[in-house]
Symmetry: C2
Amino acid sequence: MSILPPALTDVIEALGTLPGVGPRTAERYAYYLVRNDSTKAQKLASALQDMHAGVGYCKKTYALVPAGQELSDLYTDPRRDKTLVAVVAEPFDIVALEKTASFNGTYHVLGGLVSPIDGVGPESLRIAELIQRIDDDGVQEIILATNASVEGESTALYIQKQIGDRPVQVTRLARGLPIGVDLEYADQITLTRALEGRQTL
Amino acid sequence: MSILPPALTDVIEALGTLPGVGPRTAERYAYYLVRNDSTKAQKLASALQDMHAGVGYCKKTYALVPAGQELSDLYTDPRRDKTLVAVVAEPFDIVALEKTASFNGTYHVLGGLVSPIDGVGPESLRIAELIQRIDDDGVQEIILATNASVEGESTALYIQKQIGDRPVQVTRLARGLPIGVDLEYADQITLTRALEGRQTL
């Protein structure tokens, strides 16, 4: 005997596959949608249905672009510096960096980070394509903007090795105290990095 | 200039209307779906599309039932005691109570709780239908299984008044210490209720 109608459990099950969504949260989402009139559910359904067909990858930077578009607007924009490339793991990292309005270069999306545990080797990332861009675009600086995690660090190291002795400056994002955090609450590694990277006032 | 393709921002926007889902969470869900092959997104889309058409309400208990089905399985099951009715606010409360496997009666879904702040008056709840059931089914006990909140309490009080002098026992769920919680961490009201409801060993 089922307590809930199958049309509803189907939705709960499908929502439950989203990252971080457990059965209770999925139930809450589904019930919110079912108690509202069907407009919300239909709108979400049709947006989901059209998503994959409407999304493509930039052939140069591998950022997400509208389907059919060859190159990302951020790459073709003549005001962006093509000789400065920020290397990020995922397309949404671009959104985070763009929000700072402090970066005038272009991006390169790796499509992940080296993670032996998850079976992600460097060959599955777009590193060869990055090396190619160094030559094609005359890149002068590569900012390794990967996460400050083990995976982020080892991916950065691997890329640095691949770049070899090409005449390009390789930098990475500063490590240190996040703004608004008390020194006493910072972990040891962060504090060590903040000491190492101390700057003259 | 848009950083993300519209097909993706449409999904982010639609997901962002779910309860408790902010822009960051919506982005995470959408990116998870877009980086996977389209099967997951299509499955969720079609489940959402079919949901409203596949869900109806039980004509007696107002529990959610497959569309076209008159009465809830929990109501028509001959092993369930129709003279014992648990009154709940929302259909999902039935799922929570059924999980206990400690209730052998039937349910009645009010469709909300009295909440003047949200503009929900008692007339928009299925209270008249509950009173009707008392007479129709010869109900002997009504368990007011509403939330232990101000809205839950006032809804219970209102229902009790409406029942009037009908020959039916009205009970409500016990208030007291939740299992596994230390006495020193319980709030004053809970502790007061636990004292008032103390039971002989």
